[in-house]
Subunit: 153 residues, 2 copies
């Protein structure tokens, strides 16, 4: 089984996409993340939902989540409004964390996809065919395929 | 908004649950992970899908995913059968990675949940009320709540 047979359509954004639109799309479609491409269509990385939160929540609160209790709803609204002034590129971790991309060729085997996902702790891997992102393989789809069928009891 | 109002029912397994059953449940229900409790019902950790793959795929293949191409379907089946002889506890990273648990009290605020998720890079956080796991808050549910409604254009 090859990546191109396991692929599902997946929303693709660019580093220039409005960050609020991207976060809303992820939440509304119940996606584990989004595929991020450069403006010329090359896969750049995968943006998981928790990374959006890492952008929104100040580091000192991440380090000590109990501090969040001191912040009221208004502070919460203000934090989220950071997304309105941002682009997807702003949400991404700094370049040093981006050495590896969770991207495979359409001809990658299921095990190769699994190895990339495992290595990157990623819930999805973008699939590229003819230099174009055609969708993603999710960890659930992959497990569905890899696990042996239930034996009759 | 408190964690207990954002919580969704979520499958809970224990460290003694059959690993194959747990992985199948995660894949079939399209969950981003499972809540793992100890046998006496205390929350232990969250098991994300990519961690199942980290258990299945040999480290040398994770380090160089191209090597996976040399493995045939039979090798793939054999790797997956590791799950048949394992329990959920075997899938978890070693203890040193478990210092923090993605767990909050039912009274935690939405921002506190967000801070825990951000800190742990976790797509879900288990919610505990009266010393019992009552479900989880997912990153998508939380973003849905936190993001301001779309302004009319």
């Amino acid at each position: 089984m090859r990546a191109r047979e396991l692929v599902e359509p997946f929303p693709v954004v660019t580093t220039e996409t409005d960050a609020m639109d991207a976060a809303r799309a992820m939440a509304a479609e119940r996606r584990p993340g989004l595929i991020v491409c450069t403006q010329d269509g090359h896969p750049f990385t995968v943006l998981p939902g928790s990374q959006v939160l890492r952008f929104l929540i100040p580091t000192y609160v991440q380090d000590d989540p109990g501090l969040a209790r001191a912040l009221d709803e208004q502070a919460s609204d203000e934090l989220c409004r950071k997304l309105e002034r941002s682009k997807v590129g702003d949400l991404l971790p700094r370049r040093k964390d981006l050495d590896d991309l969770p991207v495979v060729d359409g001809d990658a085997t299921a095990l190769e996809v699994a190895a990339v996902m495992a290595r990157m702790h990623s819930p999805l891997v973008a699939v590229v065919v003819d230099d174009k992102v055609v969708g993603a393989v999710t960890v659930n789809r992959l497990l569905d395929y890899l696990l042996p069928p239930t034996a009759p009891r």
